[in-house]
Symmetry: C2
Subunit: 398 residues, 2 copies
């Protein structure tokens, strides 16, 4: 029997998915499960965007241009201008989700054995793309006590070697919700200039900032050749299933290289490009409404968490995630126990153990990520469950 | 300025795309260009399939399961049963086009430095996926004189080393249109058993066979652990822009490994899964009509080509491609000349130089690929151009 590649063996399994069988079993027992574990928004996709697809009248579902439809790329130029990013349609490659933009960046900028620095905790799938590209992730720990602020510059300097090629920043951050300040972005700018590194900026949650304003990596001046924006419409318009993202850079050589990867896979999905193009014309208040809803949820969940004895949840500045430190022995065990052995009025809550977001073994054992992708009423009911659970959990500490 | 990776530099540019600027310039001069260069069918996507998407009534465009919607995978089991392939829905991972199925296979089965054998000429993008996976392509030449039949087994044996992990077969073939016989498939089966190799089967054109019947790699018995089907709905239903394919295998370990790659990129596109699911319920005569149309075109183009002095075109058994040997010095030069310096009644034809489909340098210089994705009338007009062009071309041989 032929064997699996080492890469196939090294490829990490989804850290959240391993809990799914326990959630399914709980549901089979009749227990209601509040899903705070995944970043699938419950906000409706704008009807205008779905209608654009539904009212399309082409006869042949053709390949689009490998860089995506020109009409969509031109429309995106308007969108980016509105958020203070000045680019041309030739500097955009439409990708199959933000995922593919990350993969193209890793592949085109780094070779096997090269190193990429990522502040941890970080989006777990960066690990997968790193394995695919044969790249080594060097984590720099940020801490819940500081609200997951950018680690000190010395921590970066310490791990930079001749093999370091890039830094990945997710802003606002998944999983922490942390919003990097303009000053922190400036520090990163100096770092990438000094060490001649790429800055990969995952800004999937750009519009969802509740404290202060968003500083895009594309706002940084004098580092046009260094900055790569890895974007997606998934969260912005609740359009995760569309699988439409964008690879954006002013670095011409990199664009040319990334286009070769884009050509190999022919084209991004056609239907959802129509949706993405329509989204740019949504009324100005679209994000205001969505943002107000997420802010209300954030305020609710953070307040509820911090009111629980022994729980600490820093106030996240953006995205729709909160990280909380719980008085527990082991977040993996706790999250499984919530599904397997606990219920409160026949309800329980599904959380993501933070261990899956740390690259350094042993970190995140007392932390969980909560995605506030359910409404305030459901959040309150979920927090009732969690509060009760923390009192009953056999592995409670202090 | 940070540098591009070696992988980014090695990534091949699309061999067809380099002619695009010349085609655009010809059109700007007012010359009509008959496109026989790409595999974008002109057949309409079945209205029933497009309507399934247009009449969908969900409110949130959610991530699907990483393996694709269960309802679609179950439906595909019916489709595969109809073509004599007996699998379960758990043995299918829905991919973003056939492209992603190929990438998953290369990534999960082979490590950097491993070798994959592919009879040439072959689909040029295999090269791109090989570069992404760090895998070395070992070509085995098939010849136009034999109609591109499977090269002798000894040719395979000669290049097999301890690093050889797989053989790729495209059946019916792109670019040659060759349909592998049951006997040839049996030879491949013995080979993969003897040397413990994977057989990657790209069967994108399964339904389009005009001589004899299709033998799927999944029909081979006793090699369940070896065979991987890399499938797509792109050509089958003229749905190239949907980006929906499938990775199919009975090898449980490989499925588990491939699922980790699928999870990293979250999910395949949601809209076109609806289209793919509806396609399985198309009436039985759907393929008959499409096939009859392609067969008529094949008969037309092959007859016209062989009627030209010094031209040889073997009769392709399937797909919608024909390869022709022309009395020319250099197919790249000739194809460019057709666009740049030739017209007949203000019309010309765009062909794909075969050099891009050969891995061995120097091969294919007298061959071109013609995709018969335009109707019979247009094919005849295109052949009028080609016939005239071959008489005028300064680099004509003999």
């Amino acid at each position: 029997m032929p064997t699996i590649s080492n890469r196939g063996n090294q490829m990490p399994a989804s850290p959240i998915r391993k809990l799914v069988p326990f959630a399914e079993a709980a549901k089979k027992r009749g227990t209601k499960v509040f899903h705070l574990n995944i970043g699938q928004p419950d906000i409706e996709t704008p009807a205008k965007c779905l209608d654009a697809v539904r009212h399309s009248d082409f006869k042949i579902l053709e390949y689009s241009h490998s860089a995506g439809n020109e009409s969509y790329r031109k429309k995106l130029v308007e969108y980016y201008k509105r958020v203070g990013i000045d680019i041309t349609s030739e500097q955009i490659i439409i990708t199959t989700g933000g995922s593919e933009a990350i993969l193209f960046g890793f592949m085109a900028c780094m070779d096997a054995g090269d190193e990429v620095i990522i502040p941890e905790p970080f989006y777990a799938n960066y690990n997968g793309f790193a394995v695919e590209a044969g790249v080594v992730v060097k984590p720099i720990s940020s801490s819940i006590e500081s609200g997951f602020a950018l680690p000190p510059i010395e921590d970066f300097e310490k791990v930079i070697t001749s093999k370091t090629k890039a830094i990945v920043i997710c802003n606002p951050n998944n999983p922490t919700g942390y919003l990097y300040s303009a000053a922190e972005m400036e520090i990163l700018k100096q770092l990438i200039k000094k060490h001649n590194l790429y800055l990969f900026a995952d800004e999937a949650y750009r519009e969802f900032c509740y404290e202060g304003t968003h500083t895009s990596a594309m706002h940084l001046t004098g580092v046009d050749e260094h900055v790569v924006l890895m974007d997606t419409i998934s969260k912005r318009y609740s359009a995760c299933g569309g699988r439409i993202g964008a690879f954006v850079t002013k670095n011409k050589d990199l664009l040319d290289a990334a286009m070769k990867f884009a050509q190999a896979r022919l084209s991004p999905p056609s239907f959802a490009q129509i949706l993405g193009e329509a989204a740019v014309d949504l009324p100005d208040d679209y994000f205001n409404t969505t943002k107000a809803e997420y802010k209300l949820r954030r305020d609710t969940i953070v307040k509820r968490l911090n009111a629980m004895q022994g729980v600490f949840c820093p106030n996240p500045g953006g995205a729709f995630y909160a990280m909380a430190k719980l008085p527990i022995d082991d977040s993996d065990k706790f999250c499984q126990w919530l599904l397997e052995s606990f219920n409160y009025n026949n309800q329980t809550v599904m959380l993501a153990p933070a261990t899956g977001f740390y690259s350094t073994a042993g970190l995140g054992k007392q932390e969980v990520r909560l995605a506030y992708v359910i409404n305030v009423e459901a959040i309150n009911a979920a927090m009732d469950c969690l509060e009760k659970a923390l009192k009953e959990y056999p592995g409670r500490m202090n």
